[in-house]
Symmetry: C2
Subunit: 242 residues, 2 copies
Amino acid sequence: MKSESPGSDLSSDIARDIRDAIVEGRMIVDERLPSEAELAEQFGVSRPTVREALKRLAAQALIRTQRGAFGGAFVNRLSYEEAYGQQVTTSTLLLSMNQVSFETACEARYAMERACAELAVERRTSDHLATMRAEVDRQTQPGLSDEGFCASDVALHRAFVDAAGNPVLSYQLAGAVEAMQPLMNMITFTARSRGEIVALHTALLDAVEHRNAHSAEIALRQLEAYTLTLGQDVMAARARAG
Amino acid sequence: MKSESPGSDLSSDIARDIRDAIVEGRMIVDERLPSEAELAEQFGVSRPTVREALKRLAAQALIRTQRGAFGGAFVNRLSYEEAYGQQVTTSTLLLSMNQVSFETACEARYAMERACAELAVERRTSDHLATMRAEVDRQTQPGLSDEGFCASDVALHRAFVDAAGNPVLSYQLAGAVEAMQPLMNMITFTARSRGEIVALHTALLDAVEHRNAHSAEIALRQLEAYTLTLGQDVMAARARAG
DNA sequence: CGCCTATAATTGTCAGACATTTAAAGGTCT
DNA sequence: AGACCTTTAAATGTCTGACAATTATAGGCG
């Protein structure tokens, strides 16, 4: 009674069977799967085929494997970090491979960030403020490369999102914010544009410090508008260059 | 010059090498990878090891394979649908495996949905309205099961999010909305609670129809509050039951 | 009693073979 | 000449059997 669909591919079928068992809760976290040899017998296939199925699951962080006696494959508790990673990779590829316009990506990102404003100003701790301030400071340093500037930008926004104190929100936003980094990295930041951005970051920081959600949203809106103009200039230049 | 880190695992290393090549743009969409035999020679490993690496990449939809002459592995254009699927699976597991509270998940979901309100009321087409209306109608039908009610709920919210006309936003929201379905499915909806929800859905629908972002946000906020009370009742009952 | 060693279970890797699929090349008939 | 069929070769999919590497447990030794 094995389920099939994609032109028959044993390792796919087996991976799906096991994945379903995990997703539907028939296997619980840290539960050990049968050994590869046992699985091979159960599914009526060879060990390499089972191994291919297990590697598929491992790639999605659904299982982890351990060598040695009493080792084997175990249902993995998907950590926030692993989920972040998957989220960022998937989002980045989605953007880079689907001719998603800078406008669309930017709009989505800032819409979601604004969704954090209310919670962030309410729950931010002094730690969050300190992190944001440190990043703003870094952004004013003269020797900073464009890539370093972008990285600091991401770190600041990350701190802002984390200030909302909702790990699910942080996880969802990770993709939206980090996936834009490759697009942002194409931008050459002039001293003037850096100044503008730092000013807006400072406005955001002040709003968070004074727990003013409305001001935070305005700062984010201005940041979106300014980022958009910078991005559009780059895209236009690239279009001219061919 | 092979990169290594996790206690040496050849198929992991190879998968990472290839993944990096794709993510960094050194391999472009639809480009064909060398055959398994060639890869085995290049990396100095056996074909089964190469195959395990390729299955890892296939599990993340980074490549697709085609049998037969002139077949092979090709860099896959990550479609929105594939990305949705990954997003939903990852989000669902993250919620179910990490004792994420109903409150936290609910808060994140509605915060993100509210972020769509402004764009949705501005860009919604009559199609979006019709879909939403159809789902509200379905929700009033007497014979509808609780699962059917939840599914319709997801469909309505999905239409609302899609109305924002930003595919990246739709993609990001897919996880937040659908991952809550297992939690919602634990709720037994009484006739009274269904009535309340339908009333709020109708309010949301009206707001979208009349392009009133503020009303839409209020409806969503009320929906969040009501969903939260329903969920908390269930959680409390489960806690008592042990 | 503590340390060391042997053991067995399990994953990781390899080699070679055969089955299956598929597109392209070449041949045949009209 | 053109349409249809057959062959062929390249590639993935799968199997078998073996060996290497790792590791927790059990047993032996001082």
